[in-house]
Subunit: 402 residues, 2 copies
């Protein structure tokens, strides 16, 4: 089924939908015969909710596919994660929550070290620290001058990584990467990949020349390598597709950036799970749709910290009554993908989900966990259809056909 079929069935009403997303929620047992992180966690509130919900398992992208956070979140919000193939530069910009404009061209930056012959000796500039990164970005942003009304920003990410933004009319993303991918080689000259891109390629060439001069005195980060050129891309917003006035309550840049790409309002940082819940309560009258993003489940999973992940799930469970007392018409609890501590990485395993609503047809699940959800009434379904299920339970989708 085309995930956009639902768009033309959307109707408006006064219902509220809350997505409580524990990043990387799905897990694996730590030892044979053992339990997953979610199964091991003491979660009385989630279990009670599961008993009155319809449960299931979600595939973010497809069977066997391990998703990055970008595609997984697009799927969560009802966007085909394969077709919504935004350029990597744009995801980087979203990832650091950069305030984008329609005139922006993005590229991913690696600071690198080149030797006396101009050959790359370290593609990561000795993994310079983030403070140095920030200082260099400021210097470059200040000193590079391309003329012609083109603005240039360098925005620090972590260590040797940064984002390049060119802002101006008529810029093209059809520019080849300059990262030679191997040490001992000179950075590549940016090439236009079609005739219309020639002017932009020349601008980038000019920028690289200036960057080389400005960075000449740096010990480690004396050059920048560019890849993944991408233009700002307009994605149809949640308002446009589903008529949902939406608020993201997310603490991490990547998720704030993706939410902004999808037209959500972004709540100021709150600094804690409790703060996120308080923000929900406070903003509750003002929006139709709320995206609460909890990052620590994924961080613990990535660190291989089984007990830490379990503890975050339990902490979330303790705060669940704060959501329940608002009585949202639809409350969805799930993750964007699995991050089993046993693998210390994202994985392809499907993600448990519960959809709580007075209109949810109950199944026999009485415990929120992977094995239980496998027998749930939602069965195993593509994550991209979750938004449709939520809208249906909120009475926000009208009948298809006569």
């Amino acid at each position: 089924m085309d995930p956009e079929l639902i768009d033309r069935l959307v109707v408006e009403n006064d219902t509220k939908i809350v997505f409580l997303i524990m990043d990387g929620l799905g897990g694996l047992p730590r030892e044979p015969e053992g339990l997953t992180e979610l199964e091991a966690a003491r979660t009385p509130h989630l279990d009670g909710l599961a008993a009155h919900s319809v449960c299931g398992l979600l595939d973010p992208v497809g069977f066997g596919i391990t998703p990055g956070s970008g595609p997984a979140h697009f799927a969560l919000f009802g966007y085909d994660p394969i077709k919504t193939n935004v350029g990597r530069g744009l995801l980087s910009a979203a990832g650091i929550d950069f305030p984008m404009s329609e005139d922006d061209l993005f590229a991913r930056v690696n600071f690198a070290t080149i030797d006396g012959d101009g050959r790359v000796s370290d593609r990561r500039a000795g993994r310079i620290d983030t403070t140095t990164n920030r200082r260099i970005c400021e210097k470059l942003t200040e000193e590079i001058n391309l003329g012609g009304g083109i603005e240039v920003f360098l925005e620090p990410e972590k260590e040797h990584r940064a984002l390049l933004v060119l802002r101006g009319k008529g810029l093209s993303a059809r520019i080849s990467d300059t990262d030679p991918q191997k040490t001992g080689r000179k950075p590549l000259t940016p090439q236009p990949l079609n005739p219309e891109a020639k002017e932009t390629a020349d601008l980038v060439g000019n920028l690289l020349e200036q960057a080389g001069e400005i960075l000449a005195d740096e010990e480690q980060a004396n050059m920048i390598l560019l890849r993944g050129f991408a233009r700002y891309e307009k994605i149809r917003t949640l308002q446009e597709r589903f008529r949902l006035k939406s608020l993201a309550i997310a603490e991490y840049p990547m998720y704030r950036g993706i939410s902004r790409l999808l037209g959500m309002d972004i709540h100021p940082l709150t600094g804690s799970l409790e703060g996120q819940m308080a923000a929900l309560a406070e903003q509750y009258p003002r929006y139709d749709f709320f995206f609460i993003h909890i990052k620590q489940t994924d961080s613990c999973g990535e660190d291989g910290d089984y007990d830490g992940k379990t503890a975050v799930i339990e902490a979330t469970d303790r705060l669940l009554p704060l959501i329940l007392e608002l009585q949202p018409h639809v409350l969805v609890v799930t993750g964007d993908h699995s991050t089993p501590a046993a693998m210390a990485a994202h994985s392809w395993h499907p993600v448990p989900v519960l959809v709580a609503s007075p209109l949810a047809r109950p199944d026999r699940v009485t415990r929120f966990g992977e094995r239980d959800c496998a027998a749930g009434g939602l069965s195993r379904m593509p994550m991209v259809h979750l938004m449709g299920v939520a809208l249906a339970h909120a009475g926000r989708l009208t009948k298809f056909g006569a």
Copy 2:
């Protein structure tokens, strides 16, 4: 999800994947309230494995679709069974394990009887025996001469069926069938279906004239009918798609032929289940992927032999420890389709599957059977995605998107 999405995520490593395929594995109860063949079989090793695996049900082609062995096996190996629509002549050639070349044109042959007026009186030539078939094929192969560097082979199949191969440059498959499909009619003249096919159509006409003369003295098989013209077709191999060095340990021509089409090495015939297991152990260090094909489950199913099918499953179960002691990273046990003895035919029912791997997320299935697998963690999935699931569990698929 496009089954070829995984191709660009493939990475190589040292893991081993074993597909143990019991042809026609899925079944039906023999009487109301009864058990299927697999449920009735005593399978302690498969049950023990299921308890540590993720289980499910596979649809070879789609809901309600009864597949032939060709499409079912394409799906098993990750090839879209609907799009991988190789010509019937080519499947016939694969089916008798004919050593194909890129210059080959294939057609399916029926030996037929024509009367004094040249009208077909029996489209199956009284189902001549295979020995007669072989003798006639040898005679035709020896005596037909088309000149112009075109080689002709007639290869016996069973009873009245054979394969015609023309080998030479520039041959076209766009030739109409000559089988009139009804008795009382004359064989049709092969027509070119586009202008480029005219020369080949003339060659086939010439061939049919010679065949008629050579077979004039035969009592029953005095004519050949041709259909399903197909050129050799290059299919991307398992090596090309998944970087898997693959070995087929299969005893029946059809499966050896399909394996060869997909670029697998073909193990010499071993003559027994035990021989197949010994071949696996012996070749284990040399390959990444092993396809063990057990035909007798299907043969018994086709014969309506419920007890026989159950016995083959039990015999396979007794040999399972020989695979387990190799400790493959991923062991998949399933069938290519269902062949319920109660129907004495292939059927559309989904096929039970288990995927055993240290990274399989356990479900609650503790018995390998149709009803148990219906509650498994893999749920019900299209068979074409099984290969992606296997590759994921082997760590051979990298992340999709940032």
